[in-house]
């Protein structure tokens, strides 16, 4: 019976064309703009990857992160019209509520991921089946922290503040995480390694090389995911108690 609920939650998300256009169209356009002029560069910025591949992986990190965090904007909008209060007087549990939000976020991210894979293929990215699978698996795991953070943002911020907040956060995380330029050493690397966005980018890179994340990677992602989940619970609880 809760499946019907999830179905409509997905339906309304995918039906919002403006939303769909910006969260899916934006990374695609950006990808073609950046990667097309560099399509023949084989070893971009000493990363050992071709430019189309490098930017595909970077934009996947950026795009899926965006799509996932966008769950926050939807939550903020629902809160603004009082829909959360309406849901609280139904038998829908907190767990089911979170599950629907997370699955919707993953569905949006999944579409973004597939679209960028397609765009990469158009620009000549060729990988073995195992690499595609491994990369996809790590990206999906690397997105868990963002799923929880989206919910936190949605329950803490209002619709007019969440736009700039999410925009700024994703831009900063993407920049520090090495989405736009390879981060190879120094203090920047130390900072980057503590961020989930870096490991999202690395999910692409190492997936291609055939290695998994380093131990640090797994720990950083796990810590962000757990902290995010705890914060999301807290934010939801606090939000649902007036005064």
């Amino acid at each position: 019976m809760k499946r019907t609920y999830l179905y409509y939650e997905l339906l309304r998300t995918f039906r919002n064309r403006r939303f769909f256009f910006f969260s899916l169209g934006f990374p695609l356009v950006l990808y073609f703009l950046i990667a097309t002029p560099n399509r023949n560069r084989g070893n971009f910025g000493n990363s050992g990857l071709s430019a189309p591949l490098y930017f595909m992986v970077g934009l996947i990190a950026f795009g899926t992160m965006n799509a996932m965090l966008a769950a926050g904007s939807r939550i903020a909008a629902e809160r603004a019209v009082g829909w959360n209060r309406q849901l609280r007087i139904t038998p829908l549990t907190t767990r089911q509520y979170f599950r629907a939000k997370v699955i919707t976020g993953y569905a949006m991210s999944g579409v973004t991921l597939a679209a960028l894979y397609g765009a990469g293929t158009v620009l000549g990215v060729r990988l073995g089946a195992e690499s595609w699978l491994k990369m996809t698996g790590l990206i999906l795991i690397g997105l868990i922290p963002f799923a929880t953070l989206g919910i936190v943002f949605g329950h803490v911020l209002t619709p007019d503040s969440i736009g700039p907040a999410l925009g700024g956060t994703t831009a900063l995380l993407a920049f520090l995480g090495g989405t736009w330029f390879p981060i190879t050493g120094g203090v920047m690397l130390k900072i980057a390694e503590a961020l989930p966005s870096y490991w999202l980018v690395q999910a692409g890179h190492v997936g291609l090389g055939g290695h998994g994340w380093s131990r640090t990677g797994w720990i950083v992602v796990a810590v962000w995911a757990l902290a995010g989940a705890a914060l999301a619970r807290r934010a939801y609880r606090r939000d649902t108690q007036k005064v």
Binding site: M1, K2, R3, E9, V81, T90
Partner: protein, 306 residues
């Protein structure tokens, strides 16, 4: 029919504001029997919404207890036995009306048939319309449908007709009648005496966080439903006017007289029959606010929050 009803005992709730602690509900006891339709009547700020939010489990009381069909408010909500239309709020966007009602129906163990509910609430012709493209009155009716589709044993409505036009209001109450005839328990807040009078089995009158009266609508109406007749009628003995049927008190204001009436219909007929020379006749309602002020006196002392 579900055993038990709603039991509210010694309920209190205060809000912290920048001006200090403001008591919203100051110790109320209400019991609603299963199958009863009860109106919470009172002016703005009486504590109606706060009471309703606590019955629904949306607010935690400072003290006191609430039992809904023998459960806590949360327990009753989780069991799917409560449906509610809150005072504020619009609809989830990007869905059609039927889709939204179906979505909400899917959360309950024994929902009503969606098409039946759309018919009952008079929105069948809106079924395919996107929720963000509805008028205010239509939105209210869809919100009512969302509350009804859960097939609740207890239906709670917080000022349901405030945003409705006259036509929607009329349609709303006829669908309510249809629903209450199924033996459901209904608790609704309103500040319209006419609504409480016409649709409730019992009226609980609230003012300033307290219950000031609790009884059948006719009784409450007699208490607060006073009207005043004013007419230009010089040289008539006030005692003769006060003795007219329906008149409780007569007063002279220059050439005119003011008659306070418990039953203004009877009074006006008697007045015109006995004194055909009466002219410039006006009848005005005392208004709930004024009536409440009379009932509650000057009991506006801020109380220590304890």
């Amino acid at each position: 029919m579900v055993p038990g009803g709603i039991e509210v005992n010694a309920l209190t709730k205060s809000y912290r504001t920048s001006e200090g602690v403001v008591p919203a509900v100051r110790g109320i006891d209400v019991s609603v029997a299963a199958g009863e339709t009860v109106a919470l009547l009172g002016p703005n700020g009486a504590g109606k919404s706060t009471t309703i939010d606590m019955v629904l489990g949306l607010l935690e009381p400072d003290s006191g207890s609430i039992s809904v069909f023998g459960r806590t408010p949360h327990g009753a909500v989780d069991a799917g036995s409560v449906g509610a239309m809150l005072q504020t709020g619009t609809l989830l966007r990007d869905l059609e009306v039927r889709e939204l009602v179906s979505m909400m129906a899917s959360l309950y163990p024994a929902p009503l048939d969606v098409d039946e509910v759309l018919g009952l609430t008079g929105i069948s012709e809106l079924a395919g319309r996107r929720t963000q493209k509805l008028s205010g009155g239509q939105t209210q009716r869809v919100r009512f449908a969302v509350a009804l589709v859960s097939n609740p044993d207890l239906l709670v409505l917080d000022e349901p007709t405030v945003a409705m036009d006259v036509e929607s209001r009329h349609a709303f109450w006829s669908s309510m009648r249809e629903f209450t005839s199924r033996g459901k328990t209904v608790l609704f807040a309103t500040h319209y005496l006419e609504e409480a009078d016409a649709y409730a089995d019992r009226v609980v009158l609230m003012a300033r966080g307290r219950i000031v009266a609790d009884g059948p609508p006719t009784e409450i109406k007699a208490m607060v439903g006073t009207r005043t007749i004013r007419a230009t009628l010089p040289d008539i003995d006030l005692e003769r006017l006060a003795a007219l049927p329906g008149v409780t008190h007569a007063e002279r204001r220059g050439e005119a007289v003011d008659l306070n009436c418990a039953d203004s219909d009877a009074a006006i007929r008697a007045l015109v029959a006995a004194f055909p020379e009466a002219r410039d006749i006006e009848i005005s309602g005392a208004g709930l606010e004024q009536a409440f002020l009379q009932l509650t006196g000057d009991d506006d002392e801020p109380e220590p929050a304890s």
